[in-house]
């Protein structure tokens, strides 16, 4: 590139002066699926259809999105499985309670998007290929991908747009997949597990055995759920006037929990991807000063509920250091899936795995009337059995049964 290939002054001003057309009658984005089906008709890729039965929801600009209820391939989250296993466990437990057909695959990698957002040590085609390999693996099983991680969900939605809009990238990805002997498959909808919880919320509420209508919660909506490819997130006019994503808040409402408003709801949690691992001064400062301290001072909630890996970790683990600086901290942080599981009587340790959370959850258990000491004693007996070799590990046979009925 030479200096002469930079834009001229007039070209720069013209670009700067471009006007955004705002027409309330027109969605500012198109339905990506139309292009997907066109590409499929040309033989460029395979579109995996949402299996029946599915639930229909409204997205930000009114498009109807299909949420599969079963026959799902669970694209797990590395942060959830690695550091918050009760998050993953609760999602699976809910599926098992309703007898919904699903797969917990071992032919899955993470999206690797956390690393890409943290370091830039990857490239667009590699990221697309990782996504496409996972989607092909799901397609080969006949099950539909259900994405557990908010970042994977946002990253895949963005990657899907790149794949559709840039032929060269598509060709590069297809060449990589050819080496792997896999087809290029793109799901009709990219679906986040919290959208499944949202779709199931009335069925979950119908089987609720732990009353929660005396609880107040603050919802932290996950950035990569509703800010990346914003038009694909669920909205409902009945939830905050349709001005915020309905996911999580509507679920809490169905369970009787009051979701209270607070002034910094739009702020991120402070995760920062690289920051949370190697530069946490930023992460904990933001999490405590802009989120937890604000929630505590404005609402003093019984719990914070969110729907992504990084948000649970950041908001939970950052509170310890906040104490040293006399910030107003001390509120448990759970995912919507964990709250739903608790509502249906899930074991707080075998299933929800509260012992992986560092902020004190005992007051919340007491308020819910859950005898956590008795449940912990049961879990300790499990640990003793594993320690002594009496059993190899905990299984679903021991965890499936609700402990509150």
């Amino acid at each position: 590139m030479s200096v002469s290939t930079l834009l001229s002054f007039d070209e720069l001003l013209t670009k700067k002066a471009g006007v955004v057309q705002r027409d309330p009658a027109q969605a500012p984005t198109h339905d990506l699926r139309e292009t997907l089906f066109e590409l499929e008709a040309k033989g460029e890729l395979i579109v995996q259809r949402v299996p029946e039965p599915y639930f229909e929801v409204k997205t930000k600009y009114g498009r109807t999105k299909k949420i599969p209820l079963e026959h799902t391939w669970h694209h797990k989250s590395c942060g959830q499985c690695g550091h918050i296993p009760g998050y993953t466990g609760s999602i699976f437990w809910l599926h098992r309670q309703f007898g919904l057909d699903h797969v917990d695959p071992t032919d899955q990698t993470s999206c690797t998007g956390w690393n890409y957002y943290a370091s830039g040590a990857s490239n667009a085609v590699a990221q697309l290929a990782v996504m496409a390999r996972n989607f092909a693996a799901a397609y080969e099983t006949g099950y539909y991908p259900l994405i557990h991680c908010g970042t994977s969900y946002g990253h895949y939605k963005e990657a899907r747009e790149e794949l559709i809009h840039h032929r060269q990238m598509r060709d590069q990805v297809r060449r990589v997949l050819d080496k792997l002997g896999k087809p290029l498959v793109v799901p009709e909808e990219i679906v986040h597990y919290s959208e499944w919880v949202h779709a199931m919320r009335d069925r979950i509420a119908a089987r609720q055995v732990v009353a929660m209508d005396h609880l107040t919660a603050c919802v932290h909506p996950a950035c990569h759920y509703y800010k990346i490819v914003a038009e694909d997130a669920i909205y409902d006019d009945a939830v905050f006037g349709g001005q915020r994503t309905a996911t999580v808040t509507a679920t809490l409402g169905a369970l009787g929990i009051t979701a209270a408003d607070y002034s910094t709801w739009f702020d991120c949690c402070g995760f920062g991807f690289r920051h949370v691992l190697v530069q946490r001064d930023f992460t904990r400062s933001f999490a405590v000063q802009r989120k937890i301290d604000v929630m505590k001072n404005e609402i003093d909630p019984d719990l914070v509920v969110t729907h992504d890996t990084g948000c649970v970790t950041t908001l939970d683990k950052s509170q310890f250091s906040g104490k040293a600086h006399n910030f107003n901290v001390g509120v448990p942080v759970l995912s919507d899936a964990q709250v739903a599981a608790l509502a249906m009587g899930a074991h707080p340790f075998r299933v929800v795995q509260l012992h992986w959370h560092s902020t004190d959850w005992r007051p919340l258990m007491a308020k819910l009337g859950i005898d956590w000491q008795a449940r912990w004693a049961e879990f300790e007996a499990d640990l003793d059995d594993i320690r002594s070799g009496k059993k190899a590990g905990l299984t679903w046979a021991e965890a499936d049964q609700p402990v509150v009925s």
Binding site: T5, G82, R133, H224, R290, S321
Partner: protein, 236 residues
């Protein structure tokens, strides 16, 4: 006052890196601009500052997503170099900045610039990512960003006594998880098939991703190469 060539860029600063030739900065700028996603991320900047008001990093660092969009829109090559060397590592990649009424994505521009910084082995980038190498090792070999055995008290002292308690119980607690793919796994987030990992390694080779690692950490690159090549040879 009408905008003209003399007053249109009042924020233009003194070149902070005069030792780096302009041609080199221009080459890096061109790499960013050549990315297929560039046109999707930058439409022009009103300089309204809505992105700054939403940005978490702007509250705690001398960082502004508006400056990112402004600089790229004005094609200010010297300032872009400063961004590439310094500013990009402050961004939290939350994409709160996509509230932009012009539909810019300053966070997306940061992603592109980071990738160029890595690809070119910029010294400051190598320095920033030095402590992060163990994470790259994990994600490239295991296909998971994090694993239970990374939760070491020395790395997470600010998470309090919970980390030490966890470390003492890790193996036992991992056995006490009912999810089949998680139970007992401590060096990855879940059990992954060998074939799946070989496919992942193939992706790293075929897309040039592995070569990027050589630019930021040669030792790590050699280590990854050894393990991946051996796994792929076994497959062959």
């Amino acid at each position: 006052m009408a905008t003209n060539a003399a007053n249109w860029n009042p924020g233009k600063i003194t070149d902070k890196y005069p030792g780096v030739p302009y041609e080199e900065k221009l080459r890096l700028f061109a790499e960013v601009k050549a990315d297929a996603r560039y046109e999707d991320y930058l439409y022009g900047c009103y300089e309204c500052g809505i992105c700054v008001s939403a940005c978490p990093s702007a509250r705690f660092y001398d960082y502004s997503p508006r400056v990112i969009a402004q600089t790229m829109a004005r094609e200010d090559v010297n300032r872009m170099y400063e961004i590439l060397v310094e500013d990009i590592w402050n961004c939290a990649q939350c994409f709160s900045c996509v509230r932009c009424p012009r539909q810019n994505s300053p966070g997306g521009l940061v992603t592109l610039i980071r990738e160029i910084a890595v690809r070119n082995g910029i010294k400051e980038t190598r320095d920033v990512l030095q402590g992060y190498s163990r994470v790259i090792y994990k994600v490239m070999l295991k296909g998971n960003q994090v694993s239970p055995d990374m939760l070491q008290p020395d790395f997470f002292p600010d998470w309090g006594p919970w980390v030490r308690s966890f470390q003492g119980n890790m193996n036992l607690w991992r056995q006490a998880i009912p999810v089949d793919s998680l139970r007992g796994v401590t060096d990855a987030a879940w059990k992954t098939d060998d074939q799946t990992l070989r496919e992942l390694y193939t992706i790293w080779f075929e897309t040039g991703n592995i070569d990027l690692i050589a630019e930021i950490d040669e030792g790590l690159y050699e280590l990854l190469l050894d393990v991946m090549e051996e796994a792929l040879e076994d497959w062959a």
